[in-house]
Amino acid sequence: MATRSYTSRRELEQHSFHPAVTVLVPLVAILLQALLPRPFPRLAILDLPLIVTVFFAVSRRNPVAGTLTGASIGLLQDALTNQPIGVNGMAKSVIGYIAASIGIQIDVENLTTRVIMNFGFFILNSVLLFLINRRLLGHSDFHLQWFHELLRAAVNTAVALPIFFLLDNTKRTE
């Protein structure tokens, strides 16, 4: 009788990254996010740090790592704004946790899955930011413009796909 080894999907497809990639990719994403809207104001609709957060979270498939990655990137992003530090940190922490949890359950290498996943996370990010601003910070004049948020999610999803394919080359399978 053949011996069967039951290895979970998480154990089979858990990836890691070189420390330089772990540090530099989020930094470059934040840097580009800060630089691009100056010559191209319409590119302010992009959220490259969130794309990177989702990628690292679903690739590592570790909710703790995803949470910490999201928190770090979000806090660094907050530090460059005039908002209270923690707004993006909280939103990206939640998204990092959920993305890592989803990565355990489903095949995130599939193109369709990536499209749906990214679109959903960007909508979730908008909802979380709305809740944090309205409920925690008390900004009563903060409104959610649904058309704009849907457009933002669509644009970022379109941008996320090639970035995901590019960053796939930096994975190291354990």
């Binding site: 840097l31 996010q33 100056r38 010559p39 704004t81 923690g86 903060f142």
Partner: protein, 425 residues
Amino acid sequence: MESFFSRFKNVLVLVAILLAQTIGLAVQVRRPVEAGAPDGESVTLIRYWAVSTVTPLERLFHGFGYNVRHAWSNYIDLRNTRQQNSDLQQQIARLRLEQAALSEDAIQGHRLQALLDFQQHYVAATVAAQVIGTSGNDLSRVLYIDKGAKDGLKADQAVITPDGIIGKLRDVFPHTSQVLLINDQTSGAGVLLATTRIRGILRGSSSGQIVINNLTPDSRIKPGEPVLTSGGDQVYPRGLPVGTIESIKLDPDHQPYTLIQLRPAANLNRLEEVLVITGTQATLPREAQHDLAVGVATAETQAKQLADQQAAEAAAKSAAQIVADRLPSLHDTDDLATPAATAGAAPANPGGVVPKPLPTVHTDRYTQGATPPAADLKPGAPERNSPVKPVAPAAPSTTQPQTTPQQESTNPRQPSPTETPNPQP
């Protein structure tokens, strides 16, 4: 207990991180009293670390791009430069004339301000800075410039461009500063509607527009009206352009008030270089005074040239008039009437008719008007049947020209017995 932590480790980490950030948010939100105010020391320290990490790279990329653009625009892409230079010189000449025209008004305004003891703050010192980055977040409209505390910048200093105001300094680091744009939702400024002189408060919005939302409906406020800084916020000097009114509608959130949306004078989305106002003064700066003096001198030179030209024209005209008067020629009545009208005298014959002769002292048969009309004469009629009572012509009138003598009566005149009958030929 150990199994609980190991089983819910992921969720517990998430909750702990969220809790820590929530406490951090609560601490930050509690302290700042006014919107747009600088952060406390601990938050500023965190921001300083982040900015110190990111801005060197931003400077590197910005410097590379700037040098490439500079080399391209200054050494390679020089098409139409001569035409632009010519246009600019013409523009300078036109502006000099406008400056001359406005300098007198400016001097008069300064005198009146001095009389009223009105304190005006003029921009005395500025620091030019280049924009090196943004916040990268469309909910936070801030910019980073390449000048900081080492260059004499401080928080709450106004940042402008030649087109208008763009914001104020929020956080100032040693070599970098964060500029809070006027269209950020935490931004505000005191403004004045240029035409109606109504004061208002300018605010940014989450959609990136600048609005005035503290004014009640007023029919005098129209779209297109320029909006200036009022100086009441102690940040922006008075009289700087802010924008123009784009639309006016009722504010759905604050019903008695209107929502006046402005179009910013400066293009807030494409900022390359800005000026930070580091000092103001109550009197005009030396350069402005020099410009004003140049304008006054230009105006005086212009006035003198104009007076000389008018005098020369008048002299030439009078000489021509003298020569024309001495020449024996018929004068057109229109030409004669013109100088009389300019001299203020009434025209002698406005209708251009032949002047009437002087009134006759002793009338006789040869007196003008003594001859009856041909229709009343009959061939072979006696002399006494053709009497016409001569009527003394009316005095010359300048208002009602009289071409024919007036006849008081059409009846023939009855000769008196002593009157000698006219001999018939």
